[in-house]
């Protein structure tokens, strides 16, 4: 297995690879965090509602 060559080809970005690729990596992290945290917020809120409903006293028939 060979590691990608950062000094030539498309990955080199004309010698600016160490600035271009980290920028896109940070963007990817921010996008992933946004999706994860938004999903997590909704799931946690749902769980809280479900727990509250389960703890609530049930009405007699």
């Amino acid at each position: 297995v060979t590691s990608p060559d950062l000094n030539s080809g498309i990955l080199a970005m004309g010698g600016y690879a160490r600035f271009v690729w980290p920028s896109f990596a940070v963007a990817l992290i921010i996008f992933a965090w946004n999706l994860w945290s938004a999903g997590n917020l909704h799931a946690a809120a749902k769980l809280r509602v479900a727990r509250a409903a389960a703890m609530a006293p049930k009405k007699r028939a």
Partner: protein, 244 residues
């Protein structure tokens, strides 16, 4: 005439609309960002002065735009909640703040990474950079203030007020490159009459703009659903909504 406006104030309606819109926004964002970033990275020509370093524009500029758009959304939602006492406005503002903060951070980090090869430094106390940093502090302040109160309603009002006052920073960020001598380059895309970019570079950038906007819409809808559930957990419709 105002029926649609008041319907927007109804939490169950907003919860349902947000659920419907989220997958569409996400799919649109994936397509637009996928196209914009691939074309921008691999097919757009290199800049004649900045070389391939200019490709950072495809994350930096849309991130900066979202950071300001999100703040405006948050401030307007807070104002609507304060003026018309529409509670959903506070939920929108609370949902928007962390998204805006993350995109402000992205704009600052990518700007810094772009600045190093072009200006020879990661950071300068330039008006554009400084006002963007203040925007990040404002986001952090709004989020901290909201959670600092035991009574959530007071936290919401205080955060909305700070959001509104801080809104003055948005035009300062936008016009900082015009009003003061700045190391940061001037507007390239905002000049719709005469953009200063070649079409082959501009089209992927506009696709990235669209994609970032759609992504913001999707994440806002997702967060808004969580906020609505959190705030309305005692309501009967919530019990029924989570069963389905």
């Amino acid at each position: 005439m105002w029926t649609w406006f008041y319907r927007l104030a109804s939490p169950p309606y907003v919860y349902g609309v947000a659920a419907t819109l989220t997958p569409w926004f996400l799919a649109g964002a994936a397509l637009a960002i996928g196209y914009g970033e691939v074309v921008g990275l691999f097919f757009a020509p290199a800049d004649y002065q900045q070389g391939d370093a200019f490709r950072i524009i495809y994350v930096h500029v849309p991130a900066g735009w979202i950071s300001m758009f999100c703040y405006s959304t948050m401030a307007i939602a807070g104002a609507i909640a304060m003026i018309w006492r529409i509670k959903i406005g506070h939920a929108v503002a609370a949902a928007a703040a962390p998204i805006g903060a993350s995109f402000t951070l992205l704009a600052l980090v990518t700007g810094s990474l772009w600045g190093r090869p072009m200006w020879g430094t990661y950071w300068v106390w330039d008006p554009r950079l400084t006002s963007e940093l203040i925007l990040l502090f404002l986001y952090i302040g709004v989020m901290s203030l909201r959670s600092a109160f035991e009574d959530p309603a007071r936290g919401d009002r205080a955060a909305a007020l700070l959001g509104l006052v801080g809104g003055v920073n948005v035009p300062i960020i936008h016009y900082s490159v015009v009003w003061w001598n700045s190391l940061h380059q001037g507007a390239t895309v905002a000049k719709f009459g005469k953009p200063t970019m070649a079409l082959s570079m501009l089209v992927p950038l506009l696709a990235c703009f669209l994609g970032f906007m759609l992504f913001f819409g999707a994440v806002l809808c997702m967060r808004l659903r969580g906020e609505v559930l959190k705030r309305e957990r005692q309501a009967k419709w919530v019990q029924e909504a989570i069963k389905t």
